[in-house]
């Protein structure tokens, strides 16, 4: 790709399942690798990905996820999510995909801005100290839209 009209990618991450978190991270990092600006707004369950105590314990969804090709009852058995998550993490490591904490560091070093959603932070009674130190700040959705106010900017909800 030589010249792209896409200048900035803004991601809204609303889920904490591993596959969604990685989708946002890989696309944000991929944008930077192409010289495109990138920012991530973590809202609702997406906030788990930037909570110090939770970010290394995210899971893949085994229930309500048809792509797992697993009967719902089976997916609900205790330990099944942990097992599926372990399998997926092993496959990701093979592809040299970093764990969540290291990925956040890479994103930060690559110049990706990381924002937490104010409403969701209030709703989950989170303190700033619960969130990663690399966070750029806590914003309202209005503030975040303000960051989209330029040519060649795309918003993506995950």
């Amino acid at each position: 790709m030589s010249e792209t009209k896409v200048k900035k990618m803004l991601f809204i991450l609303s889920k904490a399942t591993l596959e969604n978190v990685y989708a946002a991270f890989i696309m944000a990092n991929g944008a930077r690798m192409e010289g495109i600006e990138a920012e991530i707004f973590f809202t609702f369950f997406g906030l788990e990905a930037i909570q110090k105590k939770k970010l290394e314990h995210l899971h893949v969804a085994t229930v309500g996820n048809p792509a797992m090709h697993m009967p719902t009852m089976l997916g609900a058995i205790p330990g099944m999510e942990a097992f599926a998550t372990g399998m997926m993490k092993k496959e990701m490591e093979k592809l040299n995909m970093p764990p969540v904490g290291e990925f956040l560091e890479i994103l930060k070093d690559s110049g990706v801005s990381l924002w937490a959603c104010k409403l969701a932070v209030d709703m989950f009674h989170l303190k700033e100290t619960d969130l990663i130190d690399d966070l750029d700040g806590i914003l309202t959705i209005g503030d975040f839209y303000g960051r989209a106010n330029e040519d060649g900017c795309q918003l993506l909800y995950i």
Partner: protein, 102 residues
């Protein structure tokens, strides 16, 4: 296709990446860097050397690899080659465009 770089004919693909690493030399690197609007300094050469060594070892390039390189950090790398560092650095280093998504 053939292209003249530093007054030498070299084989490049349609995006300007060298097809034969053996044709690469520092003058060619300088010529590609000028096209990419980069003025090569010590830091750039250090990065280029590291990338070429990885290429010779056949290990795929990634941003994570840069982080773990021990020679460079990601921030510096983005500052040295603004706007797509892995690709620009590979092009100047005379190696193929990296296929990595991470």
């Amino acid at each position: 296709m053939k292209k003249m770089l530093a007054e030498k004919p070299v084989d490049v693909n349609e995006e300007g990446y060298l097809l034969e690493f053996a044709q690469w030399d520092k003058e060619i690197a300088d010529a590609i860097a000028v096209e990419e609007k980069i003025d090569l300094k010590d830091g750039h050469w250090k990065a280029i050397e590291w990338i070429q060594n990885e290429f010779k070892k056949d290990s795929p390039l990634s941003i994570r690899g840069i982080k773990n390189s021990g020679t460079l950090n990601i921030k510096e790398f983005y500052e040295l080659f603004p706007g797509g560092p892995l690709k620009k650095a590979s092009k100047i280093a005379g190696i193929p465009k990296p296929k990595s998504c991470i």
